[in-house]
């Protein structure tokens, strides 16, 4: 086994996350799937850092975590605001915005 297995695992997790984004309707679950995709990318960064023998990949993964935390805060606030006006967390509902 070589560290490529980590990258393959991260590709697998990324695929599952993108499937979740496409299939699920609950906005919060869609959001969790996006988080999973970010985490999969982080795993790839960390294992590439190890394969290349320098720490840059880990620093990038760290910044990805920061961005993900900010994104979660704003995204969840948007979900709560939409839920307040529409009484629903389904992502099919806000398409009424276009009418």
């Amino acid at each position: 086994m070589n560290p490529m297995n980590y990258v393959v695992l991260s590709a697998l997790l990324f695929t599952i996350g993108s499937l979740g984004v496409l299939v699920r309707r609950n906005a919060i679950v869609v959001f969790m799937s996006v988080e999973l995709m970010l985490n999969a990318a982080n795993l790839a960064f960390v294992s590439f850092a190890r394969m290349n023998g320098n720490l840059d990949g880990q620093v990038v993964a760290f910044f990805v975590m920061v961005v993900a935390a900010a994104e979660v805060v704003v995204g969840l606030a948007i979900i709560v605001t939409i839920f307040r006006t529409r009484r629903s967390a389904s992502i099919d509902e806000p398409n009424l915005l276009k009418y």
């Binding site: 070589n2 695992l9 299939v23 919060i28 190890r50 023998g53 606030a77």
Partner: protein
């Protein structure tokens, strides 16, 4: 920088065991997240995935990122998700009606296609690539944390500063989005007091249960000045069950006789 390793792998047997156990658990958590109907179950499944990813980071000689993963993701982000789930309603589950025909099938096919493409493509392209390992890079400044700190505060300093702007903007954005204008002015203490008296209900504490020589439990009604009993002195559940203790009139009659001087008690005890 670091010398190339002799072999393409620097993974020992212990790490292999850790990898296979945590990889299976992480994939199981991810699948559980997209397959469970309830959002709370999804949150718990993805928390499992995050913890296993933290273990994988540590196995990849990134102990700092592993700890940050546990603190930030499982500690903060997932708890934030659970808070929002509590606000939005725990039992909100997905509707099964497809608004776009064939969307689910197409999504599954595309997802499988992408998975095969990524795994097969990356696997074939990089499977022979050597792994240098981070031992040298970690020891350059005395440890993993020191190495990352060195990079953050030299090469990535501008990114780091921009990160602080991003975090402040995100906090402001969350406050603005979650803020709700008040429709009515905040009621003052005087308003609350007036409303309490206007409501017609008992404004203060309800009367205590009766205290007698032989009984003072909550099921004993208190005496009113006219000799009757007060219903509201007994808690409503006790009343509803019919457990109210009937008043022992003997006590009261004795007291009345004594006070009115017509007691038939023995002569010796009267003085």
């Amino acid at each position: 920088m670091a010398p190339l390793a002799d072999t393409v792998t620097d993974v020992n047997t212990g790490e292999q065991v850790v990898f296979w156990v945590t990889a299976i658990l992480a994939v199981a958590g991810a699948l559980g997240m997209i397959l469970s109907r309830k959002a709370v179950h999804s949150a718990l499944w993805i928390a499992l995935t995050m913890i296993n990813l933290a273990i994988l980071y540590i196995a990849n000689s990134a102990p700092f990122l592993g700890m940050v993963q546990i603190i930030v993701y499982t500690g903060a982000v997932m708890m934030l998700f659970l808070f929002v789930l509590m606000v939005v309603g725990v039992d909100s589950s997905d509707s099964l009606i497809e608004t776009i025909k064939g969307q689910r099938l197409a999504a599954i096919l595309l997802g499988l296609g992408m998975g095969i493409l990524l795994v097969w493509g990356i696997g074939n392209a990089l499977v022979e690539s050597p792994s240098v390992g981070l031992t040298a890079a970690n020891e350059e400044f005395g440890g993993n944390v020191e190495g990352i700190a060195n990079l953050i505060f030299t090469r990535y300093l501008l990114v780091f500063e921009l990160t602080s702007a991003l975090l402040i903007t995100a906090a402001m954005g969350a406050m603005v989005l979650a803020h709700r204008d008040r429709w009515k002015p905040l009621p003052s203490q005087r308003d609350l007091s007036l409303a309490r008296f206007r409501s017609g209900q008992h404004p203060g504490n309800l009367p205590n249960p009766g205290v007698y020589a032989r009984h003072n439990a909550v099921d004993t009604p208190a005496l009113l000045p006219d000799g009757g009993t007060s219903d509201i002195s007994v808690p409503a559940p006790v009343r509803a069950r019919g457990d109210e203790r009937p008043l022992d009139r003997v006590d009261i009659d004795e007291v009345r006789q004594i006070s009115e001087g017509e007691s038939d008690l023995p002569e010796g005890s009267k003085e």
